[in-house]
């Protein structure tokens, strides 16, 4: 305990030091053991993607088959269907869901502080805290033939007779992406609002004296000063393009829309746990993770370049 301020004392022997730190080590080591069991063992378990794993095997006893599973995956048309659906939904989400919180945050920021602003924030954060199962149940109700969306469309004479939108495969990508935006756009403003609160108000005052209007202030002060946080979020969103929302797919999928609603994670679930083809499902998951890492890396590179150039 004496070497508390660490670093300045002469180096003591490792064992002696370790034993004197035993109370602290005994706090950290359970965490390390946990990580080895629950994080590193499954990472090692990824090796079954290169093996032929059967129910009686352990991770290491399964027979090595090299890239055999990956070759089958590449020829599997349902795998490509899941890829297309995941990318389609993700792109719609990126297109709408990425700018939405930025615009919404700017709009909220423009409100004067007070009860109205607080109420707007409370309401818009709320959907984030609903589970996807709850929201899925709600969506099924809203989009059903007797739901309120059909009701509104009928009253506006946009449709002749009620449609159950979730049984309509063509509508699925839109329902999946827009419901995600509906759920997360409000909560997404939190970080942006915090960044905007940190902007020096004298910038705006100076701009106003120079005759800059509201829009001009947003485009010349607010947005440029938020560039870092926006690019960080952009990198994270792009690297997540292949991440599918499993909870959402599980609850909204039905036999009528499956061709459009099967995403990668639900496909892994179905192949691995429903059909018991563990090696194959692991190969799908591993392949997709590797592509995700490449996406993260390239998104990071691209944003760095763009940012550098726009500085000058």
């Amino acid at each position: 305990m004496k070497e508390k301020k660490g670093g300045t004392l002469p180096v003591k022997s490792f064992t002696k030091d370790f034993i004197s730190q035993l109370p602290f080590q005994s706090m950290v080591i359970p965490g390390i053991v946990f990580m080895i069991i629950f994080c590193y063992v499954p990472i090692y378990g990824l090796s079954i993607a290169f093996k032929n794993y059967t129910v009686v095997d352990t991770f290491s006893s399964a027979k090595w088959v090299g890239f055999h599973n990956f070759v089958i995956v590449a020829k599997d048309k349902y795998f490509w269907q899941a890829i297309v659906n995941t990318l389609g939904i993700s792109f719609l989400k990126l297109l709408i869901g990425f700018p939405a919180p930025i615009v919404f945050a700017i709009m909220i920021y423009e409100l004067s502080d007070g009860r109205f602003k607080r109420i707007v924030q409370t309401i818009s954060y709320l959907p984030h805290f609903l589970s996807w199962i709850v929201l899925g149940g709600m969506l099924i109700k809203w989009f059903s033939a007797t739901g309120f969306i059909n009701n509104i469309l009928m009253r506006l004479n946009l449709i002749d007779k009620p449609v159950n939108f979730l049984l309509n495969a063509g509508a699925y990508w839109w329902i999946a992406s827009l419901s995600d935006v509906w759920k997360e756009a409000g909560w997404g403003t939190v970080l942006y609002l915090a960044t905007m609160a940190g902007i020096d108000p004298t910038y705006y005052e100076a701009a106003k004296i120079d005759g800059a209007g509201r829009m001009r202030q947003i485009f010349s002060i607010t947005l440029p000063l938020m560039r870092n946080i926006i690019s960080l979020n952009f990198i994270l969103t792009v690297s997540g393009l292949l991440h599918s929302n499993l909870d959402q797919a599980m609850v909204l999928m039905n036999s009528q829309n499956q061709a459009k609603s099967e995403v990668i994670d639900s496909y892994v679930y179905r192949m691995g746990l429903t059909q018991g083809d563990f090696s194959y499902a692991t190969a799908v998951g591993l392949g997709v993770s590797i592509v995700s890492v490449i996406l993260l890396y390239s998104a990071n590179k691209v944003t760095n370049k763009v940012n550098e150039e726009s500085v000058f």
Binding site: D17, V41, Y125, S131, A194, E205, G272, A281
Partner: protein, 291 residues
Amino acid sequence: MNTKIKDNSFYIYINYFFIVLFTIMIIIPLTNVVTSSFAGSRALSEGNFILLPSEWSLDNYRAVLHDTSIWTAFLVSAAKTVLGVVTHVFFCSMVAYGLSKRYLRCRKLYTVMGIITLFFSGGMIPTYLLMKDLHLLNNFWVYIIPQLFSYYDVIILMNFFRQLPDSLEEAAIIDGAGAWRILLTIVMPLSKPALATIALFNGVYQWNDFMTAKLYITTKRALYPLQMKLYEIIVQQQAAAMNSVGSFVVQTTSKGIQLATIVVTTVPILVIYPMLQKHFVSGMMLGSIKE
């Protein structure tokens, strides 16, 4: 901030208009679900209302109250949330307190091991096979043990612990207190804000989590939490509606039960969320500092 808002213009009204519009787009669908759950079966099957049904009834809630499996699920959810949060917060604090000592031997190794877990994971199938080997399938502890630890939360707590004044700990050492006693009687009580935000986020996760049950509770349906029970109700109702199984009356009733279960599942979140909104927002900040 207020100075830039003073100039009155057309722009401000447009802004208010859209903000109100967006807010309504959130409120109306949510209200629709709540009022529908109180609607009578005829109003529900006709579905000709947006906010106020023509016929009110408590039948849906009566049916939910009489369904003991929903009660069991509620208790499982409550138990997994409370126990999960307490053990998670305690376990993470313990590891974080040890790691917060910069002079700790092997600290480099420990942090590298932790950081790797933030970026890589075995994914669904290897994790499932591990749970199977650990005999955690169809076992209540599958909700608790794999959730004990999160390196992300450890980083947040570690940074918080380092901001605490050293003098308090030094005084305790002079009084003869050991590391464990200092953690439990000084460090954790002083870190209530950080512990509270981690507890809140973990609590929401535990309450809303359904995939754990879907993956690992394969036969023992008594261990289903509320979210899984709701999922089951939704799937059954969807299948019945698509295949036109069961009479029209049965279908409408199960739709009503589904709506009432949705409301029951959400009420705990709706009750605590507005009270604790500040902590959620500050917790979001706490987490983002790291990035």
